[in-house]
Symmetry: C2
Subunit: 272 residues, 2 copies
Amino acid sequence: MNFINKLSAAWTTNNSLLCVGLDPDLARFPAQLASEPDAIFLFCKEIIDATADLACSFKPQIAYFAALGAEGQLERICAYARQHYPHIPLILDAKRGDIGATARQYAREAFDRYGADAVTVNPYMGFDSVEPYMEWTDRGAIVLCRTSNPGGSDLQFLMADGKPLYQHVARMVADKWNRNGQCALVVGATFPEELAQVRAIVGEMPLLVPGVGAQGGDVEATVKSGRTAGGAGMMINSSRAILYATPQGSEDFAAAARRVALETRDAINLYR
Amino acid sequence: MNFINKLSAAWTTNNSLLCVGLDPDLARFPAQLASEPDAIFLFCKEIIDATADLACSFKPQIAYFAALGAEGQLERICAYARQHYPHIPLILDAKRGDIGATARQYAREAFDRYGADAVTVNPYMGFDSVEPYMEWTDRGAIVLCRTSNPGGSDLQFLMADGKPLYQHVARMVADKWNRNGQCALVVGATFPEELAQVRAIVGEMPLLVPGVGAQGGDVEATVKSGRTAGGAGMMINSSRAILYATPQGSEDFAAAARRVALETRDAINLYR
């Protein structure tokens, strides 16, 4: 089953558009994990187990592992998720972007080494920096389009032919890069009207939407702006609000994560 | 000594604008290394030793290590270069691009874990995706501007206010992002007239220029278009032409690498 089909099935099975982001920050870990040598693996495993029936995808952020030299724990987390929850798409958030021969190495990293169903990629270097990922025909490439960080507009809102750059990216991906139906887009939740514009451009293409939860995006506006006619089409990501739902030091971080994931999923579902 | 000063000193000491790129591809390694468990480290170590008096910088491409789970060997290569050739800037080619908190993790990866003097970064997410790197005040961020791959024009040549996007990036980095003099730009060698336009925009800012050697850029046009008034200002990268200078299987790959590096350095110096 390819990435898009697997995602569609997870939307239905778990009645969820929630993507659980895995950004493991040791400084915020519960006290009982602090002395464990594989604390990152254990923390993420508990989060995955606690939310697997509530999520449409899991999204580990590789930077948190790379900073600590913890790629081995990321390998184990990915293997665990694939083994125990093979029906939940696994997205490697790496935002890779490089030319052909090098992009192929990054594709091997994401798909062969970590076994991800999809990887986030950067469009700045153009189609041949994204095309190598398509050789893995059952996997996906999720292209950065519009990001909701303060500097997101520096480039993305430059106007070309009367339209901001991010709309050109959406159009390019929809019309040219998505030849085999393997693409999705990253569009932040902060600007719902822009989310709606991207949805109008790309039809049914899935959107990965960060910015709800700790980043403060409005759930109702996000869902109404980004959903497809069928009430799906989105992976709405929440990371820190779920991972660090309890005061630090309390033992029930996984139960708290489940509670927040459930609330977030249900809040999203109110507006589908 | 900070990155820019270190680079300036290396230009002078080695009379060289040549950046030696380290893209270790096991399939192209000499036969005698094939059975070594740390073949990647040994190969790169020999290349570094053979070219350290001819290069103004070394640039490992992290994708080649990440695909193989060989981050440990990359750590050893970086440590070796720092220890034995501390005056040669070490550039981690990672083209990272993510928002603030995540960018800080990538900065920790590049600067604390690998000890790089500079890291390549992607501008698509704007200034706050680059700013965290500046907290390491003696290190540098080398921002993608104009790339010479076939798809490079997909975004970079979109016209805004009558100018292509890559010129806006050059202007933004020169006027705003380079507050503390820590920035450089990536500009491909394939289009010398564009290299000249970027040079005119950014003054003395260093340019990392891939595309000479295996990628076929013209040395004379590249140097004349990209040099500063002082005849420097560039790191002209060559990777495969140096690394794989001999027919596969021959034993003298390091001597051949040295020969090609010397020829390339001298060819560049003809036009400074």
